[in-house]
């Protein structure tokens, strides 16, 4: 069972959300991937307005419409627009099919505004996927580091967080979230550097490590290669490839009556 926790409909080369989703599924089938967790729309901005958040979430809802048996959605929100984001959470998660939140690079997540979004996610048992990077040349102004996420996660111990990209520089990212049992790390979106999986498993335990690809900007191949190449037991590999993500999503899926 392979569940990919990090996918997008932007950048497939297709013109509509529906076609983009269909294209993702074709490639996922070729790689024997069972489920995709998808976020954001067909074109992105670093600092989306409330209208842009709604537009992108609408696009994702269209993309998911015929693929509820294969894909789950994360509602795109921004700490810069708390009220609008809370409305989007209610619309897309509480009253819609989505199962979590996606925060990108509009504002660093150690801000108090992010706490309000995390609190709402906690109430709905929704996971929170936060993009994180530690870039050698410096982050974008609103781009979170794993240390920012650690600060938020320590304030919201009941919420469930995913540290996107493992912080990019994963040797540092893993350390930053090591002490926080409510944070799992996403393996997606970086080069298939040898050692990333083993390091995460050694420091966090296999239960806190999630396969994800960041498709279509990345390939399924390079990201799966990290997990298939890693020196793991088969039980650990199964956890990372899908069982952990399924476990994290199970409460909200059950609340929605979704078979998984």
């Amino acid at each position: 069972m392979i569940w990919d926790g990090h996918a997008h409909i932007a950048g497939t080369g297709e013109k509509t959300p529906e076609a983009a989703m269909a294209r993702l599924i074709v490639a996922a089938d070729r790689m024997e991937i069972d489920r995709l967790v998808v976020s954001m729309g067909v074109s992105w901005t670093h600092d989306p307005s409330p209208d842009d958040l709604t537009r992108q979430n609408d696009q994702l809802l269209r993309a998911l419409d015929h693929w509820n048996h294969r894909a789950f959605g994360l509602v795109y929100v921004s700490p810069k627009h708390v009220e609008a984001s809370l409305r989007e959470i209610d619309r897309c998660v509480r009253d819609g099919p989505m199962v979590g939140l996606k925060l990108w690079v509009a504002q660093r997540c150690d801000s108090p505004e992010a706490d309000e979004l995390a609190h709402r996610a906690e109430e709905l048992q929704a996971v929170i996927f936060q993009h994180t990077w530690i870039k050698a040349g410096g982050n974008l102004p609103g781009e979170s580091t794993p240390m920012d996420l650690a600060a938020l996660a320590s304030r919201r111990p009941e919420a469930s967080f995913i540290c996107g990209h493992g912080g990019g520089q994963w040797e540092l990212g893993v350390r930053a979230v090591r002490s926080l049992s409510n944070v799992a790390v996403d393996l997606g979106g970086g080069d298939p550097t040898a050692g990333v999986v083993e390091t995460a498993v050694r420091e966090l335990g296999a239960e806190r490590v999630l396969y994800g690809s960041d498709i279509p900007g990345r390939s399924f191949a390079s990201q799966l290669g990290k997990v298939f190449s890693a020196d793991l037991t088969e039980a650990q590999r199964a956890l990372i490839l899908g069982e952990n993500l399924r476990r994290l999503l199970l409460p909200i899926l059950r609340s929605k009556g979704v078979e998984s």
Binding site: Q169, A194, A221, S229
Partner: protein
């Protein structure tokens, strides 16, 4: 399968699971490799290239029963680099040399680089140019300003009399060939490996654009998990002919003098 992008010894900033030759050979063989063109991580920061190349040749002789094909390291800004080149060709019997211009602090517009191309072309040596070794965003703080080598100055050098065979390693980051001038993508004497190629079905899209005859299988092992490159062939719907060319045939033809 012929892997044209493998390195021996240790990555300077981290131990890798397969940075011992026995383990590297075993891993590559398990994936179906029949040949691996092996450079040496030591060439990034060491200055004694004669010693680096001697070690590379020795490791390739001792391990792998012929799997490892030595690739010599050269830096044309070092004094008497021609002697390093001569030893590669005449003592170590290498068929290829590998350059790391960004680590060695020169651009491809350096006059010595053109001289190296001429000399390599005259000797029939393949010139591998590693444009980068890792995602610049992940660099050690001391190397945060180290950018990838700009391949553009190579364009006017392609038709030099020696007609060197040039392989750009770690150059392609997506199927559009972003950052690589079109003349290089289309040149008959320039080949590209897939180690850093990214994007959904990217290899298939690349073949649609460039054809398959100058695309080489390269894994960048052991720094990268070699399974990643192998799986790229599964992710894209390739004809058996194209898959064979990328995995073996193109490298085989490249070696033919």
């Amino acid at each position: 399968m012929i892997d044209v992008n493998v390195s021996l010894s240790q990555w300077p900033f981290r131990r890798l699971a397969n940075d011992e030759p026995e383990r590297l050979v075993a891993r590559l063989r398990s994936l179906g490799a029949t040949e691996a063109w092996a450079g040496n991580f030591d060439a990034l920061l060491h200055r004694d290239f004669a010693a680096v190349n001697a070690r590379t040749a020795e490791i390739c002789r001792r391990f792998g029963d012929g799997l490892l094909r030595p690739v010599g390291a050269l830096n044309p800004t070092l004094p008497d680099w021609r002697e390093d080149l001569r030893r590669c060709a005449e003592v170590h019997a290498t068929r290829a040399v590998r350059l790391h211009p960004n680590y060695h602090g020169y651009g491809l517009d350096h006059p010595a680089f053109a001289e190296l191309l001429d000399e390599a072309g005259r000797r029939g040596l393949i010139v591998q140019i590693a444009l980068r070794m890792e995602d610049e965003r992940c660099a050690h703080p001391l190397f945060k300003d180290l950018t990838a080598t700009d391949p553009a100055p190579l364009v006017p050098l392609l038709d030099r009399p020696g007609r060197p065979k040039i392989v750009l390693l770690n150059a392609l980051k997506n199927a559009a060939g972003g950052g690589i001038p079109r003349p290089l993508l289309e040149a008959e004497n320039v080949w590209l490996d897939i180690a850093m190629l990214e994007g959904m079905e990217a290899l298939g899209r690349l073949v649609d654009q460039l054809g398959s005859d100058r695309i080489l299988f390269g894994s960048h092992a052991p720094f990268f998990a070699p399974e990643a490159a192998k799986l790229k062939l599964k992710e894209s719907p390739l004809s058996p002919e194209n898959a064979e060319a990328i995995q073996r045939g193109n490298a085989h033809r490249l070696l033919a003098r």
